[in-house]
């Protein structure tokens, strides 16, 4: 316990890196997921094929494999291209590789969440807005979008919870996140259980807090509906 207090600043730093990694990845995943959902809903044949390929590949491969592939394969790719231009050896940033991999993976899961939410909005509402003379963007912004948020929130919350847990594997490529830093500290003071248990508890706290916040958000966006409290 004393050693934990001694290493508290380090653990706090690791927690910060983990949370930053998760949030940045979620932003990338949201962008990718929205684009892919739009492609699947309104795109042409080629856009649909690309989205299908994207979601199928991601769902078939473990997150750890994709992270290693993006980090080491990306390193090789960047340096092969760099060599052509006479550049020195480039070290890929672990945080960046982690965000790229996790954002890419969970963007595929969010695609289905967003698409499903969009399709849940009754088409009659959009037609009514059109009959009132609203422009397509106005219809999306004022009629569809607020409801998409409401319908997508439960799925979005689920993806976030899985995503947070997924960030742990980024420590494998040497990122100084919570798992990485606590692992090193635990090894050097010969108390690995104490430190990994601390990591265990921090993750539990993150998921519990997220659950609380998402529950509140869901209630907020469901105001005006019969089962809202």
């Amino acid at each position: 316990m004393d050693t934990l207090i001694q290493y508290a600043p380090l653990l706090a730093k690791g927690t910060f890196v983990t949370v930053m990694l998760a949030v940045t990845s979620l932003i990338l995943a949201t962008v990718l997921g929205s684009l892919a959902a739009a492609g699947k809903l309104g795109g042409g044949r080629i856009a649909k094929a690309i989205v299908f390929l994207y979601t199928s590949i991601v769902r078939g491969v473990p997150d750890l494999v994709l992270i290693l592939l993006i980090y080491f394969g990306g390193q090789r790719l960047v340096n092969t291209i760099g060599k052509q231009f006479g550049m020195d050896y480039i070290e890929l940033n672990q945080f960046f590789a982690g965000v790229l991999a996790i954002g890419f993976i969970y963007g595929a899961y969010l695609t289905e969440t967003f698409r499903g939410a969009y399709l849940t909005v009754p088409p009659g509402q959009g037609e009514a807005a059109k009959a009132l003379g609203m422009r397509p963007f106005g219809i999306f912004w004022a009629v569809n979008f607020p409801q998409v948020i409401r319908f997508a929130l439960p799925g979005y919350a689920n993806v976030w919870q899985v995503l947070v847990k997924s960030t742990a594997v980024v420590s494998v490529i040497g990122l100084g996140d919570l798992v990485g830093l606590a692992g090193d500290a635990g090894k050097s003071v010969r108390e690995p259980f104490t430190f990994y248990f601390a990591v265990f508890c921090v993750y539990l706290c993150i998921t519990a807090i997220s659950q609380f916040l998402f529950d509140r958000a869901e209630r907020r966006y469901s105001r005006g509906f019969s089962d809202a409290r």
Binding site: V61, P62, V65, L68, F200, L204
Partner: protein, 228 residues
Amino acid sequence: MRVDLVLANWELFLGGVWMTVQLTGLALLIGFCIAIPFGIIRANKVPVWSQLINAYVYAFRGTPLLVQLFLIYFGLAQFDFVRESWAWVFLRDAWWCALIAFALNSGAYATEIIRGAVATTPKGEIEGARALGLSRWQVYALVLLPSALRRALPQYGNEVVFMLHGSAVASIITIQDILGAGRTLNARYYVAYEGFLTAALLYMAITFLLVMIFRQLERRYLRHLALR
């Protein structure tokens, strides 16, 4: 892309596939055996037991599998009483640690799936069974469980794929699973991605096979729920 290296080392990957399938399969089996009683206890809200199981499920679903694995593999060695006990033979071995971590993890997820399926069983099914004079055990064995397990199939299929993908972390603690084989190939020939790419394709192939199997099972066992 050095395909020749992969082909020359096909035995390495075959061993990896076997290791992954074996670890995942055993973990799922043990997890399922944990989940049946735990799920029923949770659905019936048995006092004390239900809360204890809930704590287990909450803890294992709320934390990364990697941390659970490290806690068992690296963590337990911290305690002298563990290293002096009979269990140390297993707990110092990476394979047993991975199996324990995966089984406990899968057990937690499966408990929640089975709890949900049992709790949402239509009341009429149980009332009907009671009216026929079946005992409590008979209701479970003949009516409730067969019905609940069928309805749990789609979610359990997801859990199986989730476990398969999660099992890749075993390679971090030196186990030669599919990803472990890929890492070995990369290290042996000093290549950057050939081993990982092969591993990715193998995982993808197994995933699609599993998805197909579960789709067939659903078609067979959920036929009565399909839209006509």
